[in-house]
Symmetry: C2
Subunit: 450 residues, 2 copies
């Protein structure tokens, strides 16, 4: 093949040792989601482009279209916008479609998790990829969705993160009814436009926001109030009093404050300190209608959110029935890019293999196969040396892969033996009884503190 | 959203209970691959189209191109054939590229497994999809690859299948040097053309093959010999004598017979009866150069191969160094489409949840959360009733999901209790000690015999 080999910007791939870290994370995430009773769903990678364009603001800029290179002349689908296909850019839009398509075969409230790749044609940057893995949980119900699920989402995430070496993190939570009611109470009727501007606070600062709001017709007093609201955050429920102290009244604001207070109370009871009510969080122009979440790694706040989501009331509707939902999504690729590229988490070895069976002469391969089969039958990952070689070469083979044990077949009826190549200790062993120390059986993760 | 909801032909999706079956298969496949020391690799979904077109015969007909819907005017990549991207149609071509790209960072022989979706724009048929999951293992080495790996591949698969409820199967093995040497010995110099015709034997029968070979210029004697070779199969190594009895001689034929004999001998020693030497197997026009594999479900032979592969000597080469390899791939989507759609395998429940904590009054939710957290911390998947309700409704909630246990919080200081809703038996229980029977902890698979 003549094509030059080069990485594609925005399409990261892991080396084996890095993939071990990713798999360990995936295993913990899945296991924890399942412990909380979430059902696994996978959806196809493609959706009709018209569906992808339906919600999510200017998502059209990010969509990858898909077409058969050898489309027949009679393949009319490619030109039909309802049939043209694109790669999904998140897992929520496909999940909403899945719920509508299978509503009669699902049980509600439906708790599902979904761990898949998604694609966005954005310009790649640090922590922002064109292909990346998302780990979502959502709960949807028919007609109405109980508010307690809005408190449950970040608590599930906190349970996941308590089992992973990600360091300190903070889940910020807000309720979109708060800025909405607040803006309406202030007399700012273009809620979406105002949200869109205030959402840029981190990027353009208070001066920039002031300028844009003024250009949109807001008064100085309205602008100051918007900025004061965005500055409020608390690890307890005191945010509500601080909002009320601003003197703005609106029934939607009251609703939002009550809902956010309930979420914070539940979180404080179960995992104090993990959640922060932060009234600046808006989640852009997404389909969210109530509680919204973002998550920062402490010390890496400028890196952006590594776990986000919120409540959506209207995403899944077939015109007659609506399925409101709430969900949250771990941006696994973004999280790992920080932890792995930053050298913060490593794996003890780049292979599952725990034992290499050494071969002194090629004629021993059938015996080696029998030993390996016996060890594997008891759950011990084992491979056989690629070729017969001297002692030192066999040790080196294992050492280069950080495989802890080398197995030696006994000669002339003598017992087999196994050597821990780290300590050099070698002991007699039988393949039907020997077990490695539990911590050596599989590769494990190590947190490296800077 | 107005888009009509309808399944996309060729893009299958599972319902939750079916997905439980798929996940159980994926877990066993991964675990067994890792027990054999294969390292996990994932590659990006896209490759340059020029690379996808480089090998694999007329694969161009099957490729899905990918393009940004909102490509900028300055996005020149879309028109550059070396930069245009397509979805991968298998995992071998991307893996070969990964090896070349990372050769300096890998250890050889490199044993890797890869479980991912692939895409082909083919017309969907029974067991043939446009998006499907493949589970590959490959071993590649630098310059030369030891022949014993050709025997190892099907034995790993046999170990996987021994742990899965797939029923009887048969792995057919051949060596492409056998027909190649045989045809050359017969004086048929267009080896690829002859292979291509004989490969249609199952579809068009001996008469059809005779007609095509005659049209290509073969004599009656050459045609008879080709058909005789294709009829040979054996579960032992007797195939070699039957080939030699046809009286054709060529050094490549001798090589092929010796290699296939070695593969069969190793398989018979370890798993007698699993491998069949079948000299008709050719694996189309792929990149294979030696041993090739196909696998049939016994009783469903016409369904096609559910696990295929072979040895390739030239797929991964950067011009200076060549990385020969051998691999085999389980067509998981095809296998499951037969087993699930045929009702041959089912899951005991469509959710991971083992216990539902019942709620008599909403005020008990914090207590229920504490019980659920305790059970989960000991590995028991638990969810809490969505709303406070009477006893019967809580039982029904669990029953509809086939969740085996309902947990009742004790009132007024009384002990909690847990009910097996299948037997009706209810016992006092404490959330820090109670464990369900091992077979109820997670959903399991059941083989349904017709």
């Amino acid at each position: 093949m003549s094509t030059k080999i080069a990485p594609l910007s925005g399409f990261p791939e892991w080396l084996p040792a890095e993939r071990v870290v990713e798999q360990a994370f995936l295993d913990v995430i899945r296991e924890t989601f399942e412990l909380h009773g979430f059902v696994s769903v996978e959806t196809r990678a493609v959706e009709p482009v018209s569906r992808l364009l339906g919600k999510g603001g200017d998502a059209d800029k990010e969509i990858y279209g898909v077409h058969r290179l050898a489309a027949d002349a009679d393949d009319k689908d490619a030109d039909d916008p309802d049939k043209a296909l694109g790669l999904h850019f998140d897992l929520t839009v496909p999940f909403a479609r899945y719920v509508l398509e299978n509503a009669g075969k699902l049980t509600f409230p439906f708790r599902r998790y979904q761990i898949q790749k998604v694609w966005r044609g954005e310009r790649p940057q640090e922590g922002r990829f064109r292909e990346f893995t998302q780990c979502d949980i959502d709960i949807v119900d028919v007609g109405e969705l109980a508010a307690h699920y809005e408190a449950e989402m970040p608590l599930v995430i906190a349970d996941v993160f308590s089992r992973l070496p990600i360091g300190d993190y903070r889940i910020q939570v807000n309720n979109r009814k708060i800025p909405e009611g607040f803006y309406l109470g202030l007399g700012l009727t273009d809620v979406v436009g105002t949200l869109r501007i205030v959402d840029k606070l981190d990027k353009i600062g208070p001066e920039g926001v002031t300028e844009l709001l003024a250009a949109a017709g807001a008064t100085d007093e309205q602008i100051s109030q918007c900025l004061r609201l965005a500055e409020i955050s608390s690890q307890d429920t005191s945010f509500a009093d601080r909002v009320r102290a601003l003197g703005v009244c609106h029934p939607t604001l009251d609703e939002g404050l009550a809902e956010l207070t309930a979420v914070m109370e539940a979180a404080i009871a179960e995992r104090p300190g993990v959640l922060v009510a932060d009234l600046r969080v808006a989640r852009g122009l997404d389909y969210y209608t109530g509680t919204v979440y973002e998550t920062q790694l402490v010390g890496h706040e400028s890196y952006g959110s590594i776990c986000s989501g919120g409540r959506y009331d209207a995403l899944a509707s077939d015109g007659r029935t609506t399925y409101p939902g709430v969900g949250i999504s771990i941006g696994l690729s973004r999280l790992l890019a920080k932890l792995i590229a930053g050298g913060l988490v490593t794996a003890t070895r780049p292979t599952p293999t725990c034992v290499v069976v050494a071969l002194g002469v090629e004629e021993d391969r059938p015996r080696a196969r029998a030993v390996a089969a016996e060890l594997r039958s008891r759950g011990i990952p084992t491979e056989i040396a690629p070729s017969a070689a001297k002692f030192g070469k066999q040790i080196k083979f294992a050492d280069r892969r950080s495989i802890p044990f080398v197995w030696f077949l006994g000669a002339d009826g003598a017992s087999d033996s196994v050597k821990d190549i780290r300590s050099g200790e070698q002991v007699e062993a039988s393949s039907d009884t020997w077990v490695p120390p539990a911590e050596d059986l599989h590769p494990t993760l190590q947190r490296v503190e800077a």
